[in-house]
Amino acid sequence: MKILILIILSCLSQNLLASKMYSSVHFNSETGISKNLIIECNQDESLCQKTCDNKLKCIVAESLCMDCASEKSHEMNSIYAHPADEYFQSTKTNVSDDIFSYFLRNKKIMTISNDLFINYYSPELSTEISVIFNNICGNNSNNNMMVAEINENSNNIESLPGIICIDSDKNAQIQALIFNPKYSLQKNEFWQALSSESEVALKRMGLRLRLSNKLSLP
């Protein structure tokens, strides 16, 4: 367990997860709207492989949050209605590719960029919002995105656990995010819980694997 946490909270300078990460939204008059997170990996990066079983490229379908375009959505309201640095803080700890790929595979997610179309609050402020994202990431890229967990059943936004920081070479890192740092109690809790969850899942899978191996023995 300790080792796992060490992996998640590894130091900033390392651990680039992918060479390129961006979100893309499409509208098709037959099928409607679709939003995807697109990940491109170099040979030495494993996120694509771990998430999609493909070494170089991975497309993760995002969910669209329900009832979230509202003043009542604390997350959206804080990001778009009155964009300010004070609502967010990075923990400056990176999320490992194991955990992030587990997140992408097992949870409904939605990325939130500075110019997300859902922003009816202040579409004219996308530059200002991008500056805030840059401040959280400590870079100057304008391509950073927050990532929200969408509730499995209600499709509402469940939490805002991370920010995908994309540096000027378009390399991506996932940083654990603190929302409402002035009073938030959740620091890395989300990712730690996810890490335990994945560990349990792995164990279970291993057990099943071993069991099935055993069973398949003649």
Binding site: G32, L64, S70, E71
Partner: protein, 832 residues
């Protein structure tokens, strides 16, 4: 004061579905009587501004043609609304969907509904000129202009568009209005179940919107987009006419929905909801004719394309977001402060700062602000609310996902509040020894200024803004110091109270329906307005005014009596003011106060008043010997015998009218004072005389009302066919001479006798009159006032002229017409 009569049209739209062409117009009293009945015709007003922006963003990012993409997205939402509403209304009317009570069964019932059944007894129309419906709600009288409007409305109605898919167009109308008319089969049952019906409709619509089940809706590419914005935030339900969607009840939910009317104001400063229940109820008693005029003029001025409702919807959006921001701010402040400081530490810091002389001024403000919030009875303005908050917070907890929940904020306030009281009491005794700090109006927190200014005489309330304070270094930079933090927490607490009071209308977790256009809605709901008996009504109004004033405890806001005044002597209020026994705000010159009192009190000022002074125990040291105003009570007289009509103890329950046959009010009063607690006595900076003035004006109103006959419910039946006919015949206007006839439900003819004959003839024969000639009696005595003795009538499409005996004097005071049975048969035969 004149009683304004508001003529209103009840159930305008329904009359179209029925074959007859009679339109009932009610005055405001009749309209209020109708309010207790459930509506059968409603408007759903859409506000797709945010959706429009969202679609626009999306069009840009996905390279779609903006205009057609936005239009198509809006069209989908409109079709979805129209289809689902009709299915649900029809399902509820025809017992396919059960009514919903408290249980949350909307989803499972909806999931089981069989769509194959046809829509029955429901009509859906797209309304492009909703003002023509509502403008009639402001009729003060039936005159040529209003009849012209009614004619236009009825002509337009023939071109009205229903809600079939192909009639709902791809366009950029962000504020569409739909009119739904339903026909209930059993009027008795409807009266009983109608409100449950509408409540169920709202719940089903919420549920169905998220799970539309209809293939055409689910398969649309816009389906997912329509779920991004909560549908409840986009729609407002209004009743068409006088009847109600929600049962009028004297509770904050209903009252706050009526308060939405404030949004009609063009004065941004007034865009502030009431801050406490007492204030809310107090507002009800205000006769806000200004607001009524405002609404009326906006509707008539901006008649094109539903302009006024667009403006209203925009204000409503702004109001909503403003209030949600306040909620998040309160949540952030309390959560942050308490995550950084324990209660003990907060209190230690506060004690240290209050005792520091350099903070004397800000400590003074803190204590003033806190005291008005936490005064004990009978001075309390917020006490009931604070108690209600403890049980009512759940409504907003759903919105607070992070930090402290509403009940935790309330708990926190209850934790810090007694400590502030304690420290402020210590501070008071310090002040008693030292000099009172000069207080500067601008340095009070905005909420306090706003609150107090409602009850100040002056209109020159400058800015409500807070002077920008010193650097914020305390608790993560949220406050300047502990005093500042406490003041902000008090302010946030009043915000939270306000939000709770109005949560239904700004949280919009359910569909909001509002009695926007019935000026008597709240009065009726609170039993202040009884439309049935004008005399009873007047007394009730008076009673309610006085009782509520006492109940509201405005006595918290001090009018002082100099204690040197000898007790229990009968003296006029005027004398008291004149001699300086009753003291008012130091900011006002005595003359100014007297002037406005004279204006408002009228001759009551000279009426004799008994002064009652009661001693109350105070724990505070007796450094001050002023007495604070505790209420006023009126005596009524009948003939020579005087009977007390009010109680003196300041509670509404004990307020009784002893004499049911009171014919007049003498205007005699008792003014009650009691010994002021110390700090109250030290308040020199405000004196809301509003209470006294309101009380006085209600006495005056009572006098004026007495002889007012028109307060009785009245309704008139107009024939819209006749009105349209007169309008078309006279080059699209209604001439003055038609008004007396049309307003009696008659057709417009050259004189009243002709109109009466035509009505009688058409009703008896079922045929239309084409030409008519009245024959006078011979005027042997040359009186020039001879009566008509017969009528010669020619039908449409027939050459026969029928002669019918009548009696009608020229003033049409007397009219008689009896048609012979044989003649009727003959006419019917001829015209077969």
């Amino acid at each position: 004061m004149l009683l304004l009569i508001v003529w209103t049209i009840s159930s305008v739209a329904l009359s179209q579905t029925e074959s007859n062409s009679w339109l009932t117009i009610s005055n405001s009293a009749q309209c209020s009587a109708e309010m207790a009945k459930p509506a059968e015709s409603i408007f759903i007003s859409g506000n797709y501004r945010n959706l429009g922006i969202l679609l626009n963003n999306l069009a840009k990012q996905t390279s779609q043609d903006q205009t057609s993409f936005i239009g198509e997205g809006l069209r989908y939402n409109k079709i979805k609304l129209a289809q689902l509403s009709q299915i649900i209304l029809s399902g509820l009317l025809n017992q396919k969907l059960p009514y919903l009570n408290e249980d949350n069964l909307a989803k499972s019932n909806w999931d089981q509904l069989d769509f194959s059944k046809e829509i029955k007894n429901v009509e859906c129309l797209q309304v492009s000129e909703v003002n023509t419906y509502y403008s009639n709600l402001f009729l003060r009288e039936v005159n040529a202009d209003k009849l012209t409007q009614i004619a236009k409305l009825n002509l337009n109605r023939k071109n009205q568009i229903n809600c079939d898919d192909n009639n709902i167009k791809n366009n950029l109308d962000l504020y569409p209005i739909f009119n739904f008319n339903i026909k209930s089969s059993e009027p008795q049952k409807w009266q009983k179940d109608g409100f449950v019906f509408w409540n169920s409709f709202k719940k089903y619509l919420s549920s169905a919107w998220r799970n539309p089940r209809l293939k055409n809706l689910l398969d649309s590419p816009y389906h997912k987009i329509s779920l991004l914005i909560p549908v409840e935030e986009q729609l407002l339900i209004l009743s068409n006419g006088c009847r109600s969607i929600e049962k009028p009840e004297c509770q904050s939910d209903y009252l706050s929905s009526a308060e939405l009317r404030t949004l009609f104001t063009t004065d941004r400063k007034k865009l502030e909801m009431t801050g406490s229940t007492l204030e809310m109820k107090d507002q009800i008693l205000k006769n806000d004719t200004e607001m009524e005029d405002n609404i009326s003029s906006q509707i008539t001025k901006k008649s094109d394309n539903n302009q006024w409702i667009k403006d209203f919807q925009k204000s409503y959006l702004g109001f909503t977001s403003n209030n949600i921001d306040k909620l998040f701010s309160a949540n952030q402040l309390y959560s942050s402060v308490l995550s950084q400081k324990s209660y003990q530490l907060l209190n230690q810091d506060l004690e240290f700062e209050i005792n520091d002389l350099k903070n004397s001024e800000s400590a003074f403000y803190l204590c003033m602000e806190h005291r008005i919030l936490t005064q004990s009875e009978p001075y309390s303005l917020f006490k009931t609310d604070i108690e209600n908050m403890q049980s009512n917070y759940q409504q907003i907890d759903g919105v607070l996902k992070y930090g402290l929940k509403a009940n935790e904020i309330i708990k926190a306030f209850n934790e810090i509040s007694p400590k502030i009281t304690k420290l402020c009491n210590q501070y008071d005794s310090q002040i008693a020894k030292n000099k009172k700090p000069t207080d500067n109006w601008t340095n009070y927190r905005p909420w306090y200024k706003r609150f107090i200014s409602r009850y100040k005489l002056t209109s020159e309330m400058e800015t409500f803004k807070q002077n920008s304070g010193s650097d914020s270094t305390y608790v993560l930079g949220l406050c300047a110091n502990s005093i500042d933090c406490h003041r902000k927490m008090i302010e946030s607490f009043t915000d939270l109270n306000k939000l709770l009071l109005h949560s239904k209308i700004f949280l919009k977790t359910q569909f909001v329906s509002a009695p926007l256009f019935n000026e008597n809605a709240e009065k009726f709901a609170c039993g202040v307005y009884d439309p049935w008996e004008s005399s009873r009504l007047n007394k009730k109004k008076l009673t309610a005014d006085i009782a509520s004033s006492l109940l509201f405890g405005w006595s918290a806001l001090p009018i002082y009596l100099d204690v040197n005044y000898s007790k229990k002597e009968l003296v006029s209020f005027n004398k008291l003011v004149e001699n300086g026994h009753v003291q008012f705000d130091l900011e006002f010159s005595k003359n100014e106060v007297r002037k406005s009192l004279a204006v408002n009190f009228g001759n009551l000022l000279g009426a004799p008043c008994a002064i009652q002074i009661s001693e109350v125990e105070t724990n505070l040291s007796e450094v001050n010997n002023r007495y604070v105003f505790k209420g006023i009570s009126a005596n009524a007289c009948k003939g020579s015998s005087k009977k007390i009509t009010t109680s003196l103890d300041g509670s509404a329950d004990s307020f009784q009218r002893n004499d049911k046959n009171n014919k007049q009010i003498c205007g005699q009063c008792s003014i009650n004072f009691e010994k002021a607690p110390l700090l109250l006595g030290a308040l020199g900076s405000f004196t809301p005389v509003g209470f006294v003035i309101r009380l006085a004006s209600s006495l005056i109103r009572f006098n004026n009302f007495r002889n007012d006959q028109i307060a009785n419910p009245t309704e008139f039946n107009l024939n819209t066919d006749y009105i349209v006919d007169a309008y078309v015949k006279n080059n699209n206007r209604i001439p003055e001479n038609c008004v007396p006839m049309l307003s009696r439900g008659l057709s417009c003819r050259s004189n009243m006798c002709e109109s009466l004959v035509v009505k009688e003839y058409e009703q008896t024969t079922g045929l239309k009159v084409d030409q008519i000639h009245l024959v006078e009696e011979p005027d042997y005595l040359n009186t020039k006032q001879s009566n008509y003795k017969s009528a010669e009538i020619k039908n449409k499409n027939s050459d026969h002229v029928y002669k019918v005996p009548i009696t009608c004097d020229k003033q049409a005071n007397f009219f008689n017409m009896t048609m012979d049975k044989k003649l009727i048969q003959q006419i019917k035969m001829d015209n077969k």
